[in-house]
Symmetry: C2
Subunit: 392 residues, 2 copies
Amino acid sequence: MFDFKYFTPTKVIFGKNTESRVAELINEFGGTKVLIHYGGGSVVRSGLLKRVTDTLDAAGINYVTLGGAVPNPHLGLVYEGIELCKKENVDFLLAVGGGSAIDSAKAIGYGVANEGDVWDYYDYKRTVTGCLPLGVILTIAATGSEMSDSSVITKEEGLVKRGYSSDFGRPKFAIMNPELTMTLPDYQTACGCTDIMMHTMERYFTNGGNMEITDALAEGLLRTVKRNAVILRDDPKNYDARAEVMWAGSLAHNGLTGCGNDGGDWMTHKLEHELGGLYDVAHGAGLAAIWGSWARYVYKNCLPRFKKFAINVMDVEAKGTDEEIALKGIEAMEDFYRSINMPTNLRELGVKATEEDLVTMAHKCAVGVGGEMGSARLLREEDMLEIFKMSM
Amino acid sequence: MFDFKYFTPTKVIFGKNTESRVAELINEFGGTKVLIHYGGGSVVRSGLLKRVTDTLDAAGINYVTLGGAVPNPHLGLVYEGIELCKKENVDFLLAVGGGSAIDSAKAIGYGVANEGDVWDYYDYKRTVTGCLPLGVILTIAATGSEMSDSSVITKEEGLVKRGYSSDFGRPKFAIMNPELTMTLPDYQTACGCTDIMMHTMERYFTNGGNMEITDALAEGLLRTVKRNAVILRDDPKNYDARAEVMWAGSLAHNGLTGCGNDGGDWMTHKLEHELGGLYDVAHGAGLAAIWGSWARYVYKNCLPRFKKFAINVMDVEAKGTDEEIALKGIEAMEDFYRSINMPTNLRELGVKATEEDLVTMAHKCAVGVGGEMGSARLLREEDMLEIFKMSM
C-alpha cells in the first residue's frame, strides 16, 4: 500500500434543473465577471446557453462568451481565451459542455493566473502557481474533468497532444444535471461509458500497492457503468441510468479509485493518444479498440488483478487456472464493448493503418512517455509496436 | 433517486509519518497562530504532541495548546477555547486526536468566527456564516469528523447532547497516519469499526431514492471494514488493516455513501444517543447493542434493502423467502459484532436499565427528533420504547 493524497474540493450540485443555480454558485465563489466557455453549437441549439445567460442577467452578473472548444481542444483557442479574459477583466470561468470545454477553460485559467506562455506547463517546463476560479455545467459524462486535476490540450503545430495536472485546476463547482446528457448521440454515450470505465481500469491494473477498499469501490463503479451503459443503449432517455453514469464519470477520475496504489498503468490511454493524433477517432472508441490487445499482452504480468477483475467485475466463474479466468475476463470485456457498439480492434474502429503508421505511433508513444511506462507491465517501444500490431 | 450535493474539500494526506508535514499544511492554508486542541493524555504520552510542537517550532509557527476534550466533548471547554483564541489572536485550529478533539475544535471555530453564544447553533436557533480554518491530525478511526460537516457537543447542564452540521466546519486538511491508531485498546478499535460501518448503514437502510453506484460503494466499504475489523482483533499492529479502516472511516461519513438517497435513517444513532446520555457507554458499543433490535423491528418495512445487505455485505446465500434472507443478514451482523467482542444487547453492553429508564429514554428520544423519525420505518415514541425493550 502506498501513501496517498486525496483532494477533491469541487462542490457538486447534482440533479434535475440544477443549472438554474449557476448564478448563486458563481456568487458563492466570488465571481463578478465571467467568461462562459463552450464547444460547438449543441449548447446553443439546445437552449442551454441562453438559459445560463438569462440566469446571469437576472442576477446582474456580467459575462463574455467564447465558443469553439473542439474535441482535443486547441492551444490557439486557449490563447484567444486568455487575451479575452485579460481584456475584459474576467475573474471567473464557466465551462459549459464536456471535457473539451472544461480542459480548454482550465488552460485559459492557468494562462490568466500565471505569467508567460501557457504551453510551458503542457510542455513540462514550468509549474503553475494558481488558476482563475472555474465552474462547470456538465453536458457530457466521460472525461471526469469536472472534478479532476487534469486537462489535455493539443498544439496545432505538429498536433502535439499533452496533458497537465494541477490541483489548482480542479473546478470550484460542478453542476451535473443528467437530463442535459440525454440528447447525446448513442455512439458518444457509449464512448463516454468506455472512457469512464477506463479511467478506473487504468488505476486498477497495477502491480503497485493496491488497497482493498479502493478495489471494492473501483469494482462497484465498473459494475455500475457496465450495467447502465447497456440500459442506455436501449433507453437513452433513462434518467436513472444517465445519473448513474454521470456520477460514476466524476468518481472514476477524481482520484477516489486510485487511493493507495502506485498511480496506475495508463498505457492504454497513452497508446490511444497516438491513435487520436494520427486518425480522427473518438477517444472512448479508441480506448476500446486498443484495450483488448493491451490486456492480452500484459495480463500474465499482472495476473492477480486480471483474475480479480474477471470475477468481481465481469462475473466470470472462479473455475479453471488463473490464466484461464483472466482471459475469460478480457473476452467478457470485449463482448461488453461489442454489446454497446464499441470497437475491439483498429478495423472495427475504422482505421486502416499501415505497418509504417504503427511504427510511427509506437515510436511517438515511446518518446512521449520517456522511453518506457506501465505498471501492469513495463512497456518499451517494441512492446507498443507489438500491441498496435495485435490490434489490427 | 434524489438530487444531491457532494462537497468534500478536505485535503487528505494519508500514510506513514505524514504528521511531519503539519507545518507545511498550516502554511498552505494561511495559518500563522495556531490553537492545538487535543483530548486526554495519550497524545502527550505517545510523544505525538511533542513531535507536532517541535515541527511548528522549527517552522516558526506560533501556537497555544488546549487539552482536555473528552468523549462527548463539553461545551465548557469550547467556551474556554473560544476565549483563548480571541485572547491570543489565533487564526488556525489544529485538532490532534479523534472525534472528540475535532468536534470540540469545530465548535471553537464556529464560536470565534461568529458573534454570540456558540450553543445557539447546537440549539438550532441560528446558522453559522463561517468557521476558523481547521486542520486535523487523526489518531482514532471512528467518527469520520476529519472529513465530515458535523460535530456533536454536550452541554453539561442537563447533559444535553446536540449535533450541528455545516460545510464551514469541514476541515481544510486531515493528516492520517494509520500507525497513530495502533496503540488504541482493542475495545476502542472495535467500537471504531462499528461506528464506521454504522455511518454507512444509516445511509443504506432507507426507503428513499437509492442509487446503484452509491449502494455499490457502500457495500464495498462495509465488506472492507468487516474483514479488517477481524484482522485487527487478532493483529492490532497490522498496518494495512489499520489503513483500510482509517480510510473507510472518512469515506463512511463524508457523504459519499449517501449520494442520491433521502439522507438516511439515523434512528440507531438517535436511540444510542439516549443510551449514551443515561449510561457511561462507548458510542460504538452502544450502536452495536441497539442495532439488532432496531433491525428486527423495522426490516419488514424495508425488506429489499435488508435482503440486499444480507447478500452483498453479509454473504448470505440468496435462498428462501426475502424475509428469511433479511433475517439471516441481521443474524450474521450480530454474529460479526460478537466476533469482535461488541455487545448485541443492553445486558452485554453492561447496562442494567429499569423499565422506567427505558420509558425515559424513549420519551427523550422522541422529543429530540421532533416526535417521529426514520426512513427504513418511521418510528414514534411507542416504537422507540419497544426497540429499547427488545434490546434488554
